[in-house]
Amino acid sequence: MLSVTNVSASYGRVPAISDICIEVGEGEAVGLLGANGAGKSSTLRAISGLIKLTAGSVTFGGINTKGMPPYKITELGIAHVPEGRQVFPELTVRENLEIGAYLPGPKAQRQRSLDRVFTIFPVLAKRQKQLAGTMSGGEQQMVAVGRGLMLMPRLLILDEPSLGLSPVMADLTFEKIHEIHTSGTAILLVEQNVSRALTLVDRAYVLEGGRVIMNGSSIELANNKQVQASYLGI
């Protein structure tokens, strides 16, 4: 469904990622792992059009996204939940979710999507009228993920959903992501918490210095000596 083929991208003259190849199939959960600055977020930004590719191509559902602005790529069915949550702080929880279903397709299903989000995150139903910026980090993460779901995406991209959350909140977030995946949405998950991520995804890519240095099933990677030494602290 998503094919990232030999993609390179840079910030000005500073190369961020080079020659990245990633595949995500329909309904699959795929991880993008690596240390800080390995190029994980840049890869996601290249997929959703927030940075321009200097080489390679991204296709989604058979459509090449070359030259498409981010808001057009979103229309294809990709919901990118950015790093650091980035809810709209001065919009209410409800408004944040409504904005998630801004496009005509999702808008037609807005009520149903809202019900679904409130089922997954019951706390959001109670806090609908609260300004999103006044919520705790974990709750803001729920708003951000919920807002992504409102798009009814075929692919949900999650950038460090556990970042800055308490262990309890992080556990809850991973549980919810698992729930969303089992309901049929494909997931591309970026995580620094490699051991947790590997319990959630089917396959993963390991990035280092802006390149994919390894990929395989979760079990393969969990048993890989290099992965264990570098990321799992074993």
Partner: protein, 289 residues
């Protein structure tokens, strides 16, 4: 004494409504597009001349020609954003300042060329009528202007709060990048924001026409007040700009009444400076920014 104060309060509040239309436009453009529009005063001037010529050439009352000046300037705003501002958005502050400042100079000088520096006024049936409440009188033209200004401000507020495009506009103002990830086209949202801002300034011009003279430099009066109101009411905050404008109208009017005919602005600026010392982010600035 009490009567004089009441009279000054009412006069100030009424003119404050006009300041509000201008400053709401400035704060809307700044909040959403992140550009300071120095030409907003000249848009008021354009609205005034539109209503002036509608009245003198076609015999249309300014309150009716509001329906011409507002849509016309909305379209001007959309074009301004699409053809000019959009091109300098990524270039940083200086090119943006030069662009809108140049536009201000250009519009003033084109008006000078076309209309000369004459003060032009129009006489409406209600220009000289007033309502008397005891010893206090309220000029009907100003009361109407204030009423329509508050109505338009309320409509903008409802638009921003209840419509999808309005919510998208607020989302874009708060985080343009993430709003694109929601499928929001920033070019569309920005164009509508600038269009609405210019339509409000045009409305201000039309509403002023029954009691205020049109001349090419008239915009300077209003842009100065608008900038103070925008900062006082916290940058990008529409409700803040509205309340600050009303406060400034009252402060100016009290200053004229009790300090001296030329001293209205002194009182406004003293109020402005004191507020900024106490609340550097303006009256409605939280700690978050």
């Amino acid at each position: 004494m009490l009567v004089t104060v009441a009279q000054a309060l009412i006069n100030g509040l009424l003119i404050g409504g006009i300041y509000a239309l201008v400053s709401i436009g400035v704060t809307l453009i700044f909040g959403v597009v992140k550009v300071v529009n120095f030409a907003q005063g000249e848009i008021v001037m354009a609205g005034m001349y539109t209503s002036y010529f509608c009245a003198t050439l076609l015999g249309i009352d300014p309150l009716v020609s509001l329906l011409i000046s507002m849509p016309a300037l909305f379209i001007v705003g959309v074009c301004l954003q699409h053809f000019l501002i959009r091109r300098v958005l990524k270039l940083g502050d200086m090119p943006q300042i030069f662009l809108t400042f140049a536009l201000s100079l250009l519009l003033t000088n084109v008006a000078l060329l076309l209309f000369k520096a004459d003060y032009r006024t129009i006489q409406t049936s209600y220009s000289d009528t007033a309502i008397h409440i005891g010893p206090v009188y309220i000029a009907v033209a100003k009361l109407i202007a204030f009423g329509v200004a508050m109505l338009l401000s309320a409509l903008l507020w409802v638009f921003l709060r209840t419509t999808d495009l309005g919510k998208a506009m607020r989302a874009s103002a708060q985080n343009p990048e993430v709003s694109m990830l929601m499928g929001i086209n920033p070019d569309l949202v920005f164009a509508v924001a600038v269009g609405l801002a210019l339509a409000l300034a045009g409305a201000a011009g039309s509403l002023l026409m029954p009691f205020y003279p049109a001349y090419p430099m008239v915009g300077q009066v209003f842009i100065l007040m608008a900038f103070v109101a925008v900062v006082l009411g916290t940058l990008g905050n529409v409700t803040g700009a509205l309340i600050a404008s009303l406060m400034m109208g009252v402060a100016e009017s009290l200053g004229i009444q009790f300090v001296g005919a030329d001293s209205g602005l002194i009182v406004v600026f003293v109020m402005f400076l004191v507020t900024l010392i106490i609340r550097p982010n303006g009256l409605f600035g939280g700690k978050r920014r």
